[in-house]
């Protein structure tokens, strides 16, 4: 591994810890983004069911793909 020099300097452990923390931060960020996205999707699905904005319904061009 390229951190042999770092190990000789006594910094190898620090790099490993920093790398590990970065991975954990990465994962937590991903989980937060996922949770927030699911929250937005649920909100939108509820709005669709409730027909929360009747103004939009008169504007759309209903077409089928």
């Amino acid at each position: 591994m390229e951190n042999y020099m770092l190990l000789d300097m006594g910094l190898g452990g620090l790099v490993m810890v920093a790398g590990g923390l970065a991975v954990i931060a990465f994962l937590l960020t991903g989980i937060c983004l996922l949770a927030k996205s699911i929250g937005v999707i649920r909100r939108e699905l509820k709005n669709e069911e409730a027909g929360a904005d009747p103004g939009n319904d008169s504007d759309h061009d209903g077409k089928s793909v």
């Binding site: 991903g30 996205s37 937005v40 699905l45 669709e48 939009n56 061009d61 793909v65």
Partner: protein, 345 residues
């Protein structure tokens, strides 16, 4: 389909091409190997995952100059990426990825807003990325001068700002390609799964014929054309039939085209056609939030490419995966897409 919808699609085709040209130049100028390392993973993480939330924010707060913000972030990212301090590269790539994500969402929302219920304009927007990617990648690997980025950045800004009214529309056309007897949540989940597996398949396609630069250009040209034509065909013959072509018809060409370029490219062409279908499915559910609809597909794309960073399979395993995942995609799309209604041009 009106002229405006096509015009917005064409504008954002070029915006997307410029954005990917800039991004892939900056990714490859320092790190020429495909998919190597934490840099690519970090970039893809910030470019793909937050798009839904960014799009949702754009829809709910229309006054900010998102187009300019996105282009500025990409411009600013050049400085840390060009520095000799490698840690700053990571910061630069995060800025680049977020700028990319913002412009992607601008393109998705603007093209949907002007689409009149057709999926072709958004498909045209997405297709632009393939062309820009291969151009930027080539310029980066060849270590072209970074001054060359001025042109795509200016073009991206001018074109995206010229379509700013489209991004800020108050309502969006409805897409209705899904049956009414399936829960919307299931439709979103199916679209997510299909996009994920097809993202993974994209990296499993055997292309040992791809050795020359012109072949790479041709491959990405075919990919982009397939994406655009998939949207065009979905509008004409329906999403269900287009999905059948994109999933089943592609399989033999993908499998037997490992050493034969023409065969492989036919497969890639068919394969790319399905891209717009899953987006249309999400739009059919999230009628008032095309930003989140697009974000679901990009999150799925990221999840699909994630395994490729950690594991690579041999030809035989890839072939099995292509067949199995294509069949799964076909079945899922068949049950989740409605019968086509013929429509006028």
């Amino acid at each position: 389909m009106g002229n405006r919808s096509e015009l917005t699609g064409i504008k954002y085709f070029f915006v997307h091409a410029c954005v990917e040209c800039v991004c892939f130049y900056l990714l490859r100028v320092h790190y020429p190997l495909m998919l190597s390392g934490a840099i690519a993973l970090i970039y893809d993480f910030f470019a793909f995952l937050p798009q839904g939330l960014i799009g949702d924010f754009i829809i709910r707060h229309k006054k900010l100059p998102y187009e300019t913000i996105g282009n500025l972030l990409m411009l600013i990212s050049i400085l840390p990426i060009a520095s000799s301090v490698k840690l700053l590269h990571i910061f630069g790539y995060v800025l680049l990825a977020v700028g990319n994500a913002i412009l992607h969402e601008c393109g998705a929302i603007a093209t949907v807003a002007d689409s009149e219920g057709h999926i072709f304009p958004p498909a045209l927007f997405v297709a632009g990325g393939s062309f820009g990617l291969v151009i930027g990648q080539t310029l980066g690997v060849c270590q072209a001068s970074p001054l060359i980025l001025i042109l795509p950045l200016i073009l991206s800004e001018l074109l995206s700002v010229s379509a700013k009214a489209s991004l800020r529309k108050e309502s969006y056309p409805h897409f209705e390609c899904i049956p009414k007897n399936i829960s919307p949540a299931w439709i979103l989940l199916i679209a997510f799964i299909v996009t994920t597996v097809r993202s993974f398949i994209g990296y499993a396609i055997p292309i040992s014929w791809n050795k020359e630069l012109w072949q790479s250009f041709f491959l990405f040209f075919i990919m982009g054309t397939g994406k655009a034509l998939g949207g065009f065909m979905a509008d004409r013959i329906g999403a269900r039939k287009t999905a059948a072509i994109g999933t089943l018809a592609a399989v033999p060409f993908l499998l037997f085209g490992d050493r034969v370029m023409v065969v492989s490219c036919i497969g890639v062409f068919f394969f790319s056609m399905t891209m717009s279908i899953t987006f249309a499915m999400c739009l059919s559910v999230l009628k008032r939030n095309p930003g989140m609809a697009f974000g679901i597909t990009t999150a799925a794309l990221f999840l699909g490419l994630l395994p490729v960073f950690f594991v690579r399979f041999g030809f035989e395993v890839n072939a099995v995966l292509i067949v199995v995942f294509s069949l799964v995609s076909y079945v899922l799309l068949r049950i989740s897409l409605a019968e086509a209604k013929l429509r006028d041009g």
